[in-house]
Amino acid sequence: MSTTAASTPGASREDLARLEERWAERPSLRSWFSTVDHKRIGRRYLVTAALFFVLAGLSALAMRTQLARPESRLLSPQEYNQLFTMHGTAMIFLFATPMLFGFGNFLVPLMIGSRDMAFPKLNAFGYWVFLFAGLFMWASLPFGAAPNGGWFAYVPLTEERNTPGLHMDVYTLGLLFLGIATTAASINFIVTSLKLRAPGMSLNRVPLFVWAIVATAFMVIFALPALNVDNAMLFLDRRFGTHFFDPEHGGNVLLWQHLFWIFGHPDVYIIVMPALGIVSAVLPAFTRRGVVGYALVVFAMASIAIISFGVWVHHMFATGLPPLSYGFFSAASTIITIPSGIQIFAWLATMLLGRLVLKVPLLFVIGFIVTFVLGGFTGAMFALTAFDQQVTDSYFVVAHFHYVLIGGALFPILAAVYYWLPKITGRMYHEKLGRWAFWLFFTGMHLTFFPMHLYGLFGMPRRVYTYPDEPGWGGWNLVSTAGSYLLAIGLLLVLIGVIHAVRRGRPAPPDPWGGDSLEWSTDSPPKPYNFPVLPQVHSLHPTWDDASRTSMTEGATDDRILARGRQTLVTSELDGRRERTVEMPEASLQPLLLALALLVFFTALLFAWYPVAVGAALVVASTIAVWLWPPRRPDQELGVSA
């Protein structure tokens, strides 16, 4: 196992200086706004998503405090309803996906041995849009105009006549705005992973984390349009009097639900899948071996990505559709458990054959397995229509999806925070503090959400701002509330741990864990150009195999140093055969400008300043036109004959 790869670079000193000159961004205010470096953008995604996480988490604490006792009057129903809607919406759209995309942004180019994403400017643009869309939505809360229709915003409750005011306009426009960022990032991930892999990295040598990000990105490409169409129609219904969801004029309220869940169910996996990729990335370093059954895990991810599109009706099992339709979706919902089972047992087998090094990231992975498996059981139960009809929309389902999402996403995210913190910040975290954080978080999580299974079965519906003192409700709710505070303290310790590491942590070596993927073969934190020499990949675990490692040192060739410009390598889609070098774009303010214009556009739509919106749209169009304007080249280089 290598820990010295980066200290003996294969590139000469002149090459390194040239690379530095080409890629480094001098620290200045302008460069702060114009950066296109995937590592800076990735860090920003992480920090911003964490900020939204704190806001959504505080909303949850307020809700839990209200629910500590029956008939509590701490929050008014109007406040509570906005808080739970913002909690759900923000956790799903503004925390989970962006956080995981943040890791993707930072890690994918490093893991595949590239110098940046395929479209660095688009990447910067995506971040700004995400930031602005998040602020756009949260800004409504202090004005009491936050969305209040639940995160799935069922019509006709969310129609103008039932929810007047800006609430749901913030929701529809905010999500449409945010969708631009998610789509842009997904296209970028797919193209980056297809075209920028280091030479030699054929499909069977792609790290599982990258597979997970690509599968996720494909899901986004095909799922998000359904949400966008849905939101656009709701906005038109509310603002311009169309009748898509109005049964009195030929519309249909179930159309909303179908479209929403065609997006919504894949979205569950959009959140969980990259997190599963994190687990597959963390395990090898702490078990000292590769994940068992690489091809099976790839299969599991591919099949989940596909089947997730065919299970949406299980969110509508109580709407009274024909049972035979339910049968089809019930079948798919049942079978989707199998690929997840394969992954779980592949990880268990990995742990059973390797040597466990019980550091904090592995602790979180173990916490993930325990929690996610429990969430998986209840998930399989929901596939059965009869059982689903009894427990859906009760606290049982609240328990279920928190087990799945906290188990399936937050535990891996926290594992990732500790695992890649040395790579991202160049500093080591405090191990003991991390263990405390884990145990508090783990205990708090189960204390909060396990009782929800119980009072769900005891008949307590979800989304109630208060409840009567039925037997079994009051006491268990109090337990949940106590647990939520414990959970919050655990997360606070994570935050303190990160701050401590950044300020006081030991400097991190390039490869503190003995990891297997390429990010561990370069500096911590990586140089702006990632790799002095782009690697030639010879196996699935390039940092563990000599041939791949020496390709970056003694075996370095000029065509993989590429110091003459801001360049990286393009390879073929399936086998990673070298194709050509490409020029990468420089830092630019255009992404920020474009995102600002879009912010003006959506704000203008929100307040019905339509002329302003038209003006902003023109700015958008002209910014894109300038952005893509072809650079002038001599005719000879272009190859013009006439």
Binding site: Y294, V298, G310, P322, L324, S325, G327, F328, A331, L574
Partner: protein, 133 residues
């Protein structure tokens, strides 16, 4: 077996590989969309016939045809698996064969899985009346 297939054979082979990997997935998607929409929309219209066909037969077709397509993809994946069992001598060793081998494994599993789902859907069709609410 020819060791130097022409460009058309190569194109066909390359496409066959993707049929082996994704054929079952696409067949299942067709099965699901057809089965669900024909069922829900025909029942919503208050009829139990699709054109000349009884509803059950129509949905039955939406089960059987995709199932057959999936079996085909499964066979193709099995063929790919056999063809990549040994590294052939000579041209371009290892990498692309290894890659295709992995895709074959993924394809076999995907097709098995989708076949299972389609068959379970068929069971539901036998057990449940199509328009009962």
């Amino acid at each position: 077996m020819s060791t130097h297939p022409g460009p058309r054979a190569r194109l066909a082979g390359g496409l066959l590989l993707w049929y082996a990997v994704l054929g079952g997935a696409i067949a299942w998607a067709v099965h699901l969309i057809a089965g669900w929409s024909v069922d829900e929309l025909t029942c919503a219209g208050g009829s139990e016939r699709v054109g000349a066909l009884p509803l059950r037969t129509a949905i039955g077709l939406a089960v059987v045809l995709p199932a057959l397509a999936t079996v085909g993809a499964l066979l193709a994946a099995a063929l790919l698996w056999r063809r990549t069992a040994r590294t052939p001598q000579g041209v371009e060793p290892e990498r692309r064969v290894g890659r295709s081998r992995m895709l074959a494994v993924v394809g076999i599993w995907l097709n098995l899985l989708f076949l299972t789902i389609i068959v379970l859907g068929g069971v539901a069709l036998i057990v449940l009346p199509p328009c009962q609410r």
